[in-house]
């Protein structure tokens, strides 16, 4: 089963060739009480050690499928299920330095049954997480 925090320890790592990293990934538990069509997630914004990585720049992986920000907005069939995670893929030349980082996430959930002023709601989490390999 997954960690209680939205941000998961496992899955936080650099991507791309060693020595020429192209970015990093963060694994996030689907924290809502019901499964969510991808189109109801308006984005996942990250802040790593105070540096902002807006949702529009990254991609999301659900299972084996990757979505750009624009593709997610139109995906009304595929769902994020309770008890599963998705991965935020962030481009960043060189990746993140090995060691402990402060990671904050904000998921923009659109709940159609919430009053319009609360669409979206921002579901936040923050914790320390560790990059092992450069």
């Amino acid at each position: 089963m997954l960690e209680r925090s939205h941000i998961q320890s496992t899955g936080f790592h650099n991507i791309g060739p060693v020595g020429a990293r192209t970015g990093f990934e963060v694994r996030i538990r689907q924290p809502n009480y019901r499964s969510s069509r991808l189109s109801l997630i308006e984005g996942v914004d990250l802040v790593i050690d105070g540096v902002e990585y807006p949702a529009e720049q990254g991609r999301i992986r659900v299972g084996d499928r990757e979505y750009s920000h624009a593709e997610m907005a139109e995906e009304t069939v595929a769902r994020l299920y309770v008890g599963t995670y998705f991965t935020v893929i962030v481009p960043k030349a060189g990746g993140l330095a090995p060691g402990v980082h402060h990671v904050a996430s904000s998921i923009r959930f659109r709940h159609p049954y919430f009053p319009p002023e609360f669409q979206p709601v921002f579901v936040r989490d923050a914790r320390h997480a560790t990059i092992i390999l450069p």
């Binding site: 139109e74 159609p112 049954y113 609360f118």
Partner: protein, 305 residues
Amino acid sequence: MSAFKYGVSLYSYTEDLGTVMSLEDAFDHVAGTGSTGIEILGETSIPTYPEPTTAWLDSWFALLDRYQLEPTNMAAWVDTRITIGRNMSVEEGAAQIAQDLRLAHRLGFKFLRPKFGVIDGELTPDPIWQPAVERNLDLAHRLDIVILPEIHSPTPIKHPVTDAYIAFIERTGTKNFGLMIDTGIFQDRPLNKWGGGETDEIRKKALSFLNGIKVPVEHLADVIQYVPFIQAKFHHIDENLHDHHIPWDRIVPMLKKLGYAGYLSSEYEGARDPWVSIEQVRRQHALIRKLEAEYDAAHGGNVHA
């Protein structure tokens, strides 16, 4: 004298399910309260919603049998604002409800709660609700399922939203559409912890919702004929069986007086620390059973075990 039926909605175990609790664990906790009914959220409990696998179906029926629980209500959603720029059509809304009716029937449920998207702060449902439901009344009748929108805070009983649902029932003459009361409408003291997805913005702006809209329990008399199912929303019950927000000592006698004999399906929505919900649900069952027994004893009826 009429007697309540007791059940639990798996919504109570939100956050625990998927992190520290399996579906079978949840069945065990529900059965452990002495309940006869289990309520699920279709897209939460079914890992491949809307199409359960054969293995999952086998497991579902085996669990019902092992724990001697009957399916009560299946919660579903009509996500009207389906993308940022587009709302569901009537056809899409009707298809969503039809899909959930068939799924609920397949799993043995008698009630379906579709949660419609809303268009304002008073939770007025998207206007597609009426034609989308109406197109499904024959199907609901064939499947012997009652469709129940919920009357949920901040919408009170005496309100145009409720009136529109009742007008629909009276116009169509249907027996397959009714009202689900969420007991959060009776909340009469402020919440200090909302387990429904609290955010900084909601805490700042949704004051009526968090403070409670304090619907008088007497208003139940106006609608009880349309209410076959109640979600027993609550947020915190202390070790003295004192509920800090929901006035069960007024709700239970009123429901008894009105002859309510349907389910009270626990919906815990308080602190989401691991496993707290298990004990909270048990306290609610102890509290409501005690109040029901006291009412029965005072009115010469059966004392329930």
